[in-house]
């Protein structure tokens, strides 16, 4: 991604609509115009990534106090040792030189060295990334499916008891702090409460010493509670958006036509109404992934899941600035990439968008 940053000035026209709904143009989508549209979007994303890189550097240089003090953790150290630490992490250079060397290194994938682990930040990140992807991916698929399914049913029967219960529950779970729900689930299902025995592990990703199939089962067993927590707090948003998008379509003449043709209610819903309502939902689903990225920090912390979120919490408590900075960049750029993907998918789904 960082390689694109060099070609950023290409973007002039398309970049301003980064997060807004794409403008509706006349129906003349050819390959070339789609290419131009996507070049604009990708260029805009590259500019944003560059901005994130700059922010992540300067934001964490605002810290009052000496980062070297954090490294030594309050131990008594001589002035020579402090100076040696400064040299090791390049903190003795002027801010401007630190910045240029940071940018140069970042472009080659080097995000600095973690204070607390004494290991390259990029290694810690690539180590934790698959675990986070496993957790987020599973939760994402489940909550999107659940949200779209329940949202469709809710809109189709809107105003009835089922719809009211559905929206009520979604709004309630949406208002619940994810970390609190996670803690409660641990108390009830891991520690065990009253007649309920401890069904699931309290945290971590594996019990250790397992191979092959048994290992997969073990990880899945550890995955249940964190995924349930994430799904519970995230599906509400998808449900509400699907519901209101479908309600907007409900009055459409084409639905009356479809019914007049004699189609079954079920078919009218699945073949005619839902595909149209899904368009705004798709954008939101991708934007939602950004919220999930943030939610994952808390859920991973609560369940001691060895992913990026847990790492972020560990880094914050030190504070381990290079690691915090690197993770901040990863989180922000994942959201930017997701938004760009949504923008690129939009014209493919809806021919009216993006000339």
């Amino acid at each position: 991604m960082t390689a694109d940053a060099a070609s950023a000035p290409v973007d002039k026209a398309g970049g301003t609509a980064l997060a807004g709904p794409p403008a509706r143009g006349p129906r003349a989508r050819t390959g070339a115009s789609y290419l131009r549209y996507s070049a604009g979007k990708v260029g805009g994303a590259a500019v944003s990534l560059l901005a994130v890189l700059v922010t992540s550097f300067f934001l964490f240089r605002l810290v009052p106090g000496d980062p070297v003090k954090y490294m030594t953790g309050g131990r008594q150290v001589s002035a020579e040792q402090l100076a040696a630490y400064r040299r090791e992490f390049g903190l003795d250079l002027p801010l401007w030189e630190q910045f240029t060397s940071y940018c140069g290194k970042a472009l080659t994938g080097d995000l600095g060295t973690s204070y607390q682990f004494r290991a390259p930040v990029i290694d810690k990140i690539t180590e934790a990334l698959p675990n986070t992807l496993l957790l987020t991916g599973t939760a994402f698929v489940l909550y999107t499916a659940l949200g779209v399914f329940l949202g469709t049913r809710s809109a189709w029967r809107h105003g009835r008891l089922g719809d009211r219960l559905n929206t009520g529950l979604a709004l309630t779970l949406y208002s619940v702090p994810s970390f609190w729900l996670g803690l409660l689930l641990i108390i009830v299902f891991s520690v065990g409460m009253g007649p309920v025995p401890g069904l699931f592990p309290t945290g971590g990703m594996e019990s250790g010493g397992k191979e092959g199939f048994a290992y997969t089962i073990d990880v899945a067993h550890h995955l249940v509670l964190p995924v349930v927590t994430l799904v519970a707090v995230e599906y509400g948003q998808t449900l509400l958006v699907t519901r209101s998008a479908l309600l907007d379509e409900m009055g459409g003449d084409y639905l009356t036509t479809a019914r007049a043709k004699g189609l079954r209610d079920d078919l009218v819903r699945r073949r005619h109404a839902v595909p149209n309502a899904l368009l705004p939902t798709v954008t939101l689903i991708f934007v939602n992934l950004g919220r999930t990225v943030a939610g994952v920090i808390l859920v991973e912390t609560v369940f001691s899941w060895p992913g990026l979120g847990g790492l972020f919490y560990q880094a914050l408590s030190v504070p381990d600035l290079p690691l915090v900075q690197g993770l901040f960049f990863v989180f922000a750029s994942s959201v930017i990439v997701m938004n760009t993907l949504a923008d690129l998918m939009y014209p493919l789904l809806d021919p009216r968008v993006g000339r």
């Binding site: 301003t16 980064l18 997060a19 807004g20 944003s48 901005a51 994130v52 934001l59 964490f60 605002l62 810290v63 009052p64 105003g159 009520g168 709004l171 309630t172 949406y174 208002s175 619940v176 702090p177 970390f179 609190w180 729900l181 803690l183 409660l184 641990i186 108390i187 520690v191 065990g192 409460m193 309290t202 509400l240 519901r243 209101s244 309600l247 950004g290 919220r291 990225v293 943030a294 939610g295 920090i297 808390l298 912390t301 609560v302 972020f312 919490y313 914050l316 408590s317 504070p319 915090v324 901040f328 989180f331 922000a332 959201v335 930017i336 938004n339």
Partner: protein, 307 residues
């Protein structure tokens, strides 16, 4: 207020008329709002919490959070004396939850007001002054919009000192872009109406148009947005406090949850330590969301979804 007794039509000055119109609008607003049952439930919950929070100094007093004068033993389960049990220092949890409502509500409110104020300022000015200024402003807004707000808030709170002001600032500065976009769209719609042209022709300057014509028209939207924003601010405040980024010297719901986790309430099964603060957060956040949705659907009946 002296005109109260005289018939309004006799004195029909512009101010009286404006006041009458506003009162009429408020009455109509309330009539429509009343039809939203969920909104009424939310409002009732909010009034209850506001009463509890403002009565807290009389009912529980600030010494409820004192560690040295704790009345009970650590981690007592609920009993007649302590309806919600005690925390790790032996303090009364019911009192702590009541006392914590003050900080949680205050921070949620202030952060939301700050966020919506920034959003409205950026939105109105970007909608009013077109050209380079608007382009730059909207570019910045877009950039903030794609950043994960919570991650940014955590980052900000972690680099600044631990205080309530930091939390308010961290939430306010990261959550305004949605409001800015909404307000800008509304401003553009208002400014295309003929009466703005009339005001300009009569010599109305930028300030006059923005404060006298645009602002009153975007105000309802801003109000609905604030209500919804308070709910998410309260959740963010709890999250930051839970991550240990809050002010350690004050009692807040998120802070209580963090203490509970540190004290090992999870592994020892001390559910009474965890349940009340979380329920309080969820109920208040839900109440603000319900009110916000009701206000939104009163102002924009076309949405028609919040019923």
């Amino acid at each position: 207020m002296t005109t109260e007794g005289t018939p309004a039509a006799a004195k029909a000055g512009p101010r009286t008329l404006a006041r009458q119109r506003r009162r009429h609008l408020a009455v109509r607003f309330w009539k429509r709002y009343r039809t939203h049952r969920a909104g009424l439930v939310g409002l009732a919950a909010l009034v209850l919490f506001a009463l509890v929070a403002s009565a807290a100094p009389l009912v529980v007093g600030s010494d409820v959070s004192s560690v040295t004068g704790a009345p009970g033993r650590p981690l007592e389960s609920p009993s007649g004396e302590f309806p919600l049990g005690t925390d790790r220092f032996g303090r009364d949890l019911l009192g702590l939850v009541v006392w914590g409502s003050r900080v949680s509500l205050l921070v949620g409110l202030l952060a939301a007001v700050l966020s919506v104020a920034i959003g409205a300022l950026v939105g109105i000015t970007a909608g009013h002054f077109r050209g380079a200024y608007a382009t730059v402003m909207m570019r910045i807004t877009d950039w903030f919009l794609v950043m994960p707000a919570l991650v940014l808030a955590i980052a900000l709170a972690s680099v600044m000192s631990r205080s309530l002001g930091t939390i308010v600032l961290a939430i306010g500065v990261t959550s305004w872009p949605t409001t800015a976009r909404l307000v800008r769209a509304q401003t553009l719609a208002v400014e295309s109406r003929p009466y703005i042209e009339r005001a300009k022709a009569l010599g109305g300057g930028h300030w006059h148009i923005m404060t006298r014509h645009v602002l009153p028209n975007v105000m309802p939207l801003v109000l609905a947005q604030t209500t919804l924003m308070i709910s998410s601010s309260i959740l963010t405040e709890a999250t930051l406090a839970f991550l240990g980024l809050g002010d350690p010297t004050v009692v807040s719901w998120g802070g209580l949850l963090q203490e509970a986790r540190e004290a090992g309430a999870v592994s020892s099964g001390a559910w009474w330590y965890l349940v009340p603060p979380g329920v309080a957060i969820a109920v208040v956040a839900l109440a603000f969301t319900l009110c916000g949705r009701a206000v939104e659907s009163v102002l924009n009946p076309r949405l028609g979804v919040a019923r």
